[in-house]
């Protein structure tokens, strides 16, 4: 008989449990509401599995230590909220150009600045995409339930390792603090991806050369005999800095391409009652929970509504959004900001159907009834 492991768990707690299942061996963080439980639980759990936790002196130090630990070979994670996420952008850019796998959790709260620390928000959609400077691409995921936080955290680690990139896991205050029952998988039931390591002779190792058929370069760890250089400067296959414009262009295009050209593998979306829908509500995170309820109410009232829920926020789910736009007469984007994701939906879907937005930034959740009323109005 298979033993079932059912637990009542908080969203932030599920995130840590999943990270450990995914192989997290290092966590560095700085206390910030509403993400602090992720640090607290990591501090408790990591030494018991031979991992390391450290509370650093600030947010930038945390992301820097996370990247350092990952270069040394440990799967690493940090968690923060809006103000800390802004500070971490320096390190996120470094992880992008050095292709260092790591997971950055952002439990969103109201902003800008200190804003509303204990209230939910979804105002970091664009900060996740364009927070760090320079041309780059990024992966950002956004689950909506405790169970999905668990599986999406594992996916975040897997994508970070597979594509050698920082992966941003967006949560919000509500789903981070919410408790739900979750059945944890048994060992071996989830797929875990580990970075591909070099097997060549040490003197032949080129840390930034992509082998034929591979997506990213093989990644050695420090102390394993492959002495290599890592720099935030533009670099060629050897890893050493260069001023060669051709190499710079090739590098930046490769870093963007490895994500944008693999959307079929990366992008995940979910839908509810969209088959015969006339109106599609687009929502993510805690807002999507209200939107699902609104769909039920609208259906009861005879309005054919459905829910489209991007779990992958970045790269943009453009193909699924275009397909959606072609079959519904209206799209309503509902989010706890004033239209950050809406602008992207309108950009790709606006030429096929009418796209409206419903947003709010007062720290209150958007209720199902408000969505119902808005849909009826439009």
């Amino acid at each position: 008989m298979i033993e079932r492991n059912v637990k009542l768990m908080q969203g932030n707690e599920a995130c840590v449990e999943a990270a450990i299942t995914a192989g997290m061996k290092f966590y560095a963080g700085y206390p910030i509401t509403p993400s602090t439980e992720i640090a607290e639980i990591s501090a408790e759990r990591l030494p018991k599995v031979g991992g390391k936790f450290i509370q650093m002196e600030d947010e930038i130090a945390s992301i820097s230590a996370v990247i350092g630990a990952s270069i040394a070979g440990a799967k690493s994670m940090t968690a923060t909220s809006g103000p800390g996420f802004s500070l971490k952008q320096e390190g996120i850019g470094y992880a992008v150009i050095t292709e260092t796998p790591c997971v950055i959790v952002n439990v969103q709260r109201g902003g800008p600045s200190t804003g509303m620390p204990t209230a939910p928000g979804q105002g970091d959609i664009m900060q996740a995409r364009w927070g760090t400077h320079g041309d780059h691409s990024i992966i950002a995921l956004y689950p909506w339930s405790v169970k999905e936080i668990y599986y999406t955290t594992i996916k975040a680690f897997n994508l970070a390792e597979k594509y050698r990139t920082p992966v941003i896991l967006l949560l919000d205050e509500v789903i981070g603090h919410m408790r739900e029952s979750i059945e944890l998988p048994n060992e071996g039931e989830v797929e875990i991806y580990n970075r591909k390591k070099p097997t060549c002779l040490t003197e032949e190792y080129k840390p930034y050369k992509v082998k034929e058929g591979d997506i990213v370069p093989e990644m050695a760890g420090f102390g394993e005999g492959y002495r290599f250089h890592v720099t935030g400067l533009v670099h060629g296959e050897t890893g050493f800095p260069t001023n060669n414009g051709k190499i710079a262009e090739e590098l930046i295009r490769r870093l963007i391409g490895k994500i944008e050209d693999n959307k079929d593998d990366i992008v995940e979306t979910d839908e509810y009652l969209l088959d015969d829908a006339d109106i599609a509500i687009v929502a993510f995170g805690s807002t999507a929970r209200a939107a699902k309820s609104a769909v039920d109410t609208l259906r009861e009232e005879g309005i054919k509504a459905g829910l489209f829920r991007p779990i992958t926020i970045w790269p943009l789910a453009d193909k699924p959004l275009v397909e959606l736009a072609k079959k519904v007469s209206r799209i309503v984007v509902v989010e706890m900001n004033l239209g950050q994701y809406y602008l992207e939906v309108d950009r790709v879907a606006g030429k096929y159907t009418k796209v409206d937005r419903f947003g709010r930034v007062n720290g209150d959740l958007i209720t199902p009834q408000e969505i119902v009323d808005f849909v009826k109005e439009v």
């Binding site: 031979g50 130090a61 350092g68 630990a69 440990a74 320096e90 102390g223 002495r227 935030g232």
Partner: protein, 273 residues
């Protein structure tokens, strides 16, 4: 012809280096490598982490596990590396601006934790890479491109800062007293804890020219003539100390090292398993 030391420890394909004629950074870099050679350490077990600035470019020239990080953050990256792989000898190469302005917070906290990292600050009293702006170690009254009328800031004594923050090995030397510097790097690496070594170096291109300090050799002579060994310095009166600075092993102590303390926590859970 490169020396045996250069052939063994430098990535010669990346030479020549970017430093200006007369710059002291090469002397400090050689001293670090010489100390490593004297200790007979395995190159695979050495990790050199640097920040941003002239001195921080040294990591790219050295044949170890090397990371050229972001401005000021070398110690934070190094902390992650050391915790993930405690068997590595982690050495941080940084400059005065990198270590004590933008990275000042990381410096005091790495020292406070007494994590086993050896930090070597190449102190040239200026921001060389960006063209000679005043740094936290530019002496009060001296000029920089951003202090055209003289610097009104009070400059840091980096060794006193590191000592107060909790470093368990603190020393200072100069590019003139290289044997002393080599010995200090050896002792810093041997110290099980946070070691801080300030290497006084020269920037004739910016700091020297802006402050009429003469040629590279004149600046080295200045270091030679004004450096006083700690034993002698202690005997000097306040008046005699004017314009002089201490070199030598300034502070040594013994207290628990961070990664070892963390390992004890891990071991307490693995007992009996």
């Amino acid at each position: 012809m490169p020396s045996q030391l250069v052939k063994e420890y430098f990535r010669t394909e990346n030479l020549p280096h970017i430093w200006c004629p007369g710059c002291g950074n090469g002397i400090v870099t050689r001293a670090i490598v010489k100390a490593i050679d004297n200790l007979g350490l395995n190159k695979d077990e050495i990790c050199v982490v640097s920040g941003i600035g002239c001195s921080s470019r040294a990591s790219g020239y050295l044949d170890f596990n090397t990371v050229h990080t972001t401005h000021g953050r070398a110690l934070a990256f190094a902390t992650g590396i050391k915790l993930a792989k405690p068997n590595l000898n982690v050495i941080v190469i940084t400059g005065d601006g990198d270590a004590s302005a933008i990275g000042g917070n990381h410096l005091i906290h790495a020292a406070r934790r007494n994590i086993d990292i050896t930090t070597i600050v190449f102190n040239n009293n200026t921001y060389g890479m960006t063209g000679g702006q005043y740094s936290p170690t530019t002496p009060t009254g001296d000029k920089g491109t951003t202090a055209p009328f003289g610097n009104i800031d009070t400059n840091f004594d980096l060794c006193e800062l590191a000592k107060a923050a909790g470093a368990t090995y603190v020393s200072r030397s100069t590019i003139f007293t290289t044997n002393m510097l080599i010995k200090q790097v050896e002792n810093g690496i041997k110290n099980k804890g946070f070691s801080f070594i300030e290497a006084l170096t020269t920037c004739p291109t910016y700091y020297g020219r802006k402050n009429r300090k003469g040629e590279a050799v004149d600046m080295m002579v200045y270091l030679k003539e004004n450096a006083i060994n700690i034993a002698a310095y202690d005997k000097l009166s306040e008046e005699q100390r004017e314009g002089k600075f201490v070199v030598g092993e300034i502070y040594k102590s013994n207290r628990p090292e961070y990664t070892e303390e963390y390992q004890r926590i891990i071991d307490s859970f693995s007992k009996g398993v």
